[in-house]
């Protein structure tokens, strides 16, 4: 019955990293903790040449919420192939109230909060390449297994290496089971399980969602939110699983009726492996194919002879669905090979033609790049084969095949007419990204589940389909409900009640998370009711019309400055425990909130620039990550020789970075004038404009696109660019990294300073002079605990695109950054400086832009230009200070 027969035991375990002492141990009772970046070496004596799998029993150590990742390699300690990285997932479960989820004041279900469960799990590791089915090929003799934790730590209970054996077929299984359990009782009932009510899950991101478009999705309410679906794009990567507990009243033979939908990726069939009580019962369940369908459909796993039944005892059983690629791995492996060859070819073409193709030049590829045409022909053939494979697996011909065919057509055309290749190079590059994105799409296996049933022999499904009239009625109710429901207020705290009015301009999901936190963590402990509203209007007009709330969250520092210069905010510098509260933040985040000895806001988010680079491109070309500007300039010329360039935005932030690295602030000490006429500022301005004139960095570009294509393997951008890349360029997921910005060498090391943007929570002045509740609230909102929960919940609810750029220094480490990312962010964070916000702040950016363009477009002398514009800025600053009576006016 068992898939794997254990033949080998562990002979030696030695901690090569810690001490080189060998410890003898047996598999079963070995308990070893491997922390992040630690490695374990194990030796195995193999007695039979065959394919083997590795089975690891472990429990994850408490840490950040990311999945622990392990690198596994045989007999070779230094490999960095992606094939050898595996997840050792944690175990999560969703918190429920009774049967279902918690509801808000309007009867809408709130998305459940996952909690981690300490539990022991076993993962069977098979190769992720063409040997996916046969296992790691090992010869007779001693072999060394290297296990290295790349991310997070685990406690290893046992490691064993087992020969891979084929699963038995359904016929064998059912004949055995029928013989064993011949006299089963009659009258078993159909067992219904809602997919959203899961028992355990492997990854945080596997989440429930809702669809209220039809009464046929269970359960549903026309105008209330019911979380009734599991998965979608959140449940699509290999190794992610979800398990359920089902109670069987009467022992017997049951078949599955799984109601699912796959429309997340058009025309792609997805695969799941089904485990019953921890094992795959027979070969048919090893990989169940779910064809792409647009609406929820029933599926019963079957083979050529009919539906597949499983035998279940009376009692509780665990059913687990796991994402697998199975036979698709062969196709993907071939695809990766072709793509790699094409990418190599593309970079060699880049060396010859540079960034912009000159159509009037004969590049003579036949002699300069003789392998060009053969590679293209070969790739076209290989891709055609892949298309055939993909279509074979697909029930309906998807768009993926069409996209590959388009590339094949181009490659054929290029190889047939080598003299016209230059004309096609831009399109060739585009086709390469497109192929890369097809590849990453093929590897995602999204599936949405509504519910599943276990139907005994001679019984029917327990779910009846609604008729067309009830569907129409349902839709009508939902439509009418949309007129009644209040979308802006997040809770039902009434108008008349003495409540704290809080405005927030966030996404709806984030606001809901915030509301939930307020109810559970603030109102319940302090007894202060809070009316949270989702408002995007200008706060200025609200104050002018007397409709202002007491507290506004996530307000940008420029808006905050506009308010305090006009005496609309409450000074919180005398607040209770203010010194302790301020310890949560870096001083850099407070600069623009302080004015005239007072403090007007508590920081919530902080953003700053980071350096992003493509690790694969850097490795292939032997580039080193630049630490200083001099290194960056040197690297730039190397890149330009290879047809690449860098992405640095012409924003004033780049200028501020240059300025701050000269050790100069933008304003003088009492903020009565700018320092732009200082020699160092002139120098910084020169450096800034030189980037685009002398060094020829593009003035305008699409950072995301050029970064993913590798035309700009280095980009300076806000660190939220990380989220953008993660979401929009899945194919380079593992081939980019972040580093601190380039700096200037000083006596005390390298100065990496740059400007940081901050948003904060403010209290608006009102007629009643009592701000105690409001102060308690903003203290609570910016606290470690609240911010940790907020960032955790919004990320699991919305996904990585909602990752919070918190200003609280204790919270950053709880966010799902990898160790190296976190280190890079912290290194930069410690050095950021905020340029203060003067009442004429708007005049700085526009005039710096004008000055920049004068130099770069009109080729005027930087020093003349900056003096002229500095004069204009200072004049506006004087005028504004007089208008607002700052510093006595002039």
């Amino acid at each position: 019955m068992k898939k794997i027969v254990s033949v080998i035991t562990v002979i030696l375990i030695c901690f090569s990293l810690l001490f080189s002492v060998s410890v003898s141990a047996k598999t079963a009772d070995t308990v070893r903790v491997i922390k992040e970046n630690e490695r374990v070496t194990l030796s195995f004596e193999i007695t039979e040449e065959a394919g083997y799998s590795i089975s690891i029993t472990y429990s994850a150590l408490k840490g950040r919420n990311v999945s622990p990742q392990i690198a596994v390699s045989w007999d070779n300690p230094h490999t960095d192939s992606e094939d050898e990285i595996y997840d050792l997932p944690r175990t999560w479960t969703d918190v429920r109230v009774g049967e279902r989820f918690k509801q808000d004041d309007y009867g809408n279900e709130l998305s459940p909060t996952p909690v981690e469960k300490k539990s022991e799990k076993t993962v069977i590791i098979m190769p992720q390449n063409e040997a996916w089915e046969t296992g790691f090929p090992l010869t007779v003799g001693e072999h060394t297994l290297y296990l290295e934790m790349l991310q997070e730590g685990v406690e290893i209970k046992s490691v064993s290496v087992n020969k891979v054996k084929k699963l038995e077929s359904y016929e064998e299984y059912i004949n055995d089971a029928k013989a064993e359990h011949s006299g089963t009782e009659k009258g078993a009932q159909t067992i219904y399980t809602d997919a959203e009510l899961l028992h355990e899950k492997s990854h945080l991101e596997v989440a429930v969602s809702y669809d209220r478009s039809s009464p046929n999705i269970h359960p549903s309410e026309p105008s209330r939110i019911r979380y009734n679906i599991l998965g979608g794009s959140s449940w699509s990567s290999v190794g992610q699983w979800v398990s359920y507990k089902v109670n069987v009243d009467k022992a017997g033979f049951y078949k599955f009726n799984i109601v699912y939908r796959q429309r997340t990726v058009a025309g792609v069939d997805v695969r799941r492996r089904i485990y019953i009580d921890g094992t795959v019962p027979f070969d048919e369940f090893d990989c169940v194919l779910f064809p792409a369908v647009k609406s929820f459909t029933s599926l019963t796993p079957k083979n050529d002879n009919g539906d597949c039944y499983i035998y279940l005892d009376k009692g509780e059983h665990e059913i687990k669905f796991e994402v697998v690629l199975d036979s698709l791995q062969d196709v993907i492996g071939n695809f990766q090979k072709v793509l790699k060859e094409l990418n190599d070819l593309s970079s060699r073409i880049n060396v010859i033609v540079g960034e912009g193709v000159d159509l009037n030049r004969d590049y003579d590829f036949a002699s300069s790049l003789p392998e060009l045409v053969p590679t293209l022909t070969k790739s076209a053939d290989a891709l055609s084969e892949i298309v055939a494979d993909v279509s074979k697996n697909s029930a309906e011909n998807g768009s993926q095949a069409a996209r590959i065919e388009e590339a094949v057509r181009l490659f054929t055309k290029m190889s047939e007419r080598p003299n016209d290749i230059a004309k096609q190079i831009d399109y060739f590059r585009t086709q390469l990204y497109d192929l890369a994105s097809v590849l990453s799409t093929m590897q995602t296996q999204p599936l949405e589940l509504d519910y599943f049933e276990l139907i005994p022999e001679e019984a029917q499904t327990s779910v009846e389909k609604e008729n067309i009239f009830s569907v129409i009625l349902f839709r009508a109710k939902a439509f009418l409900g949309s007129f009644v429901d209040d979308y802006s207020s997040m809770n039902a705290v009434g108008e008349g009640e003495e409540a704290l009015n809080v405005w927030v301009s966030l996404g709806r999901d984030q606001a809901q998370v915030m509301n939930q936190l307020i109810t559970d963590g603030f109102t319940s402990t302090t007894g202060i009711p809070v009316r949270l509203s989702l408002v995007t209007t200008n706060i200025m007009t609200a104050i002018a019309s007397g409709k202002a709330p007491q507290v506004v969250l996530n307000l940008a520092s420029a808006n905050i400055a506009d308010l305090y210069y006009r005496d609309a905010l409450v000074d919180i510098s005398k607040m209770q425990n203010i010194d302790k509260i301020l310890e949560r933040f870096y001083p850099s985040s407070l600069t623009s909130f302080k004015y005239d000895g007072a403090l007007y806001a508590l920081p919530q988010t902080q953003s700053f620039q980071m350096m992003f680079y493509r690790t694969d491109v850097f490795k292939a070309n032997g580039f080193a990550v630049p630490k200083t500007w001099d290194e960056l300039y040197a690297l730039l010329s190397k890149m330009q020789n290879n047809g690449m360039t860098m992405g640095i935005a012409i924003s004033e932030e780049t200028f501020y970075m240059m300025l701050l690295q000269q050790g100069l602030g933008l304003y003088n000490d009492d903020m009565s004038a700018t320092n732009l006429t200082d020699n160092r500022a002139v120098e910084a301005f020169g450096k800034w404009t030189n980037l685009f004139t002398k060094y020829g960095i593009p003035k305008s570009f699409d950072a995301t696109n050029r970064f993913r294509t590798g035309q700009m393997p280095l980009v300076l951008n806000d660190y939220s660019f990380y989220r953008t890349i993660k979401v929009s360029a899945p194919e380079i997921q593992n081939s980019f990294a972040m580093a601190p910005l380039p700096g200037v060498k000083t006596e005390n090391g390298i100065n990496h300073s740059s400007h940081t943007g901050v948003s904060g929570a403010v209290i608006i002045k009102s007629a009643s002079d009592d701000y105690t509740n409001a102060m308690k609230f903003i203290d609570w909102v910016t606290s470690d605990d609240t911010q940790t929960k907020y960032s955790f919940n919004s990320e699991i609810r919305v996904g990585i695109s909602a990752r919070v750029n918190t200003a609280n220094k204790n919270v950053m480490s709880t966010i799902s950054w990898s160790r190296s990312e976190l280190d890079a962010i912290t290194a930069q964070w410690e050095q950021v400086v905020q340029v203060p916000v003067s009442p004429a702040y708007y005049y700085i950016s526009r005039n710096l832009n004008n000055a920049f363009r004068r130099v770069v477009y009109q080729y005027e002398k930087p020093i003349d230009v900056i003096y002229r514009y500095a004069h204009e800025i200072n004049a506006e600053l004087d005028r504004k200070r007089a208008e607002l009576n700052i510093g006595g006016g002039k």
């Binding site: 104050i543 609309a568 003035k699 305008s700 699409d702 004008n850």
Partner: protein, 298 residues
């Protein structure tokens, strides 16, 4: 008393019908204009109590605000170039389209009216004139070998004014174009026959003496719409060239108002600019009105 009663019996219904519109006119047009005139005489930062400063804002506007003069010049240039040109293009296109058959006409009308129908679709021009070397126009010109490096169409003050003019002209087939077509449809055919008998020599004479005089109402409404739209140019340059544009090269009065109202939060000053713009529009409309009423006269 009796007189009033009979007056209402006689005209009451008419006033009632007029009333609905009048209420809106008073509250949403007259009162805001009056308020803005009052605010223009104060120093008002939106949050604190306004301070009466007399004509200071106007004095500053005319004597020391270079950007106001620049934006006034830009506005007038836009109005002078795009107003009449757009107006004439509108009429000529309407005239041509009217000559086509009854199946082609609605199709062409739709085609020419669609840019206006689609609202802010003009943003697509940012792709055409994108500053990137992959921008449509840049890559085309670079492929043809006309330019070597990308031209910054939208941010370089040498070009961006012309780019804005092109886009505004593209958008000028607005409501006035529709009213022209409607006007051309309703012309009295018999007048053309009698004119031919009376000795009209060519299409130009026909246009001038027969067609245009019959169309004065439509031409008038078209002129009003064109003037108000060409003085209210703002969203197009702001969306294309940024707000504010490089060295205010495409800054208009409307943008100057929003700059002071929304960014600098000086509502008194912003109102002063608005009042000036209002006066300019009233004056130019009066002039155009006079000119149009002399159509078809020798």
């Amino acid at each position: 008393m009796k007189k009033v009663g009979s007056f209402f019996r006689k005209y009451g219904e008419s006033y009632l019908m007029l009333g609905c519109w009048f209420v809106f006119f008073v509250f949403f047009v007259l009162i805001p204009i009056a308020i803005s005139v009052v605010i223009s005489l104060t120093d008002f930062n939106m949050l604190q109590t306004p301070e009466f400063v007399g004509p200071d804002n106007y004095i500053r506007l005319i004597l020391s605000d270079e950007i106001f003069i620049k934006s006034l010049a830009n506005t007038l240039l836009f109005a002078v170039i795009t107003g009449p040109v757009g107006y004439i293009i509108c009429f000529v296109m309407a005239w041509f389209i009217n000559e086509t058959g009854k199946y082609v006409r609605p199709f062409l009308t739709f085609l020419f009216y669609s840019p206006t129908l689609a609202g802010s679709i003009f943003v697509m021009w940012t792709y055409v004139f994108s500053d990137d070397s992959y921008g449509l126009l840049n890559s085309l010109l670079m492929n043809m070998g006309v330019i070597q490096s990308p031209v910054q169409w939208l941010t370089d003050p040498t070009y961006n004014f012309y780019v804005v003019i092109v886009v505004i002209l593209w958008m000028s087939m607005g409501t006035s174009f529709l009213s022209f077509i409607a006007g051309l449809q309703s012309l009295n055919k018999s007048l053309f026959e009698s004119a031919a008998i009376d000795g009209i020599r060519n299409r130009w004479q026909e246009l001038w003496f027969i067609t245009l005089p019959q169309m004065v109402p439509q031409l008038l409404i078209g002129a009003v719409l064109t003037i108000s739209s060409s003085f209210a140019v703002g969203s197009v340059p702001a969306a294309l060239t940024g707000n504010p544009s490089t060295d205010y090269s495409t800054h208009t009065l409307l943008l100057h108002i929003t700059d002071y109202g929304n960014t600098r939060l000086e509502l008194g000053y912003a109102s002063a600019i608005a009042v000036v713009l209002f006066i300019i529009m009233v004056v130019s409309w009066t002039v155009i009105n006079k000119a149009l009423h002399s159509l078809g006269k020798d």
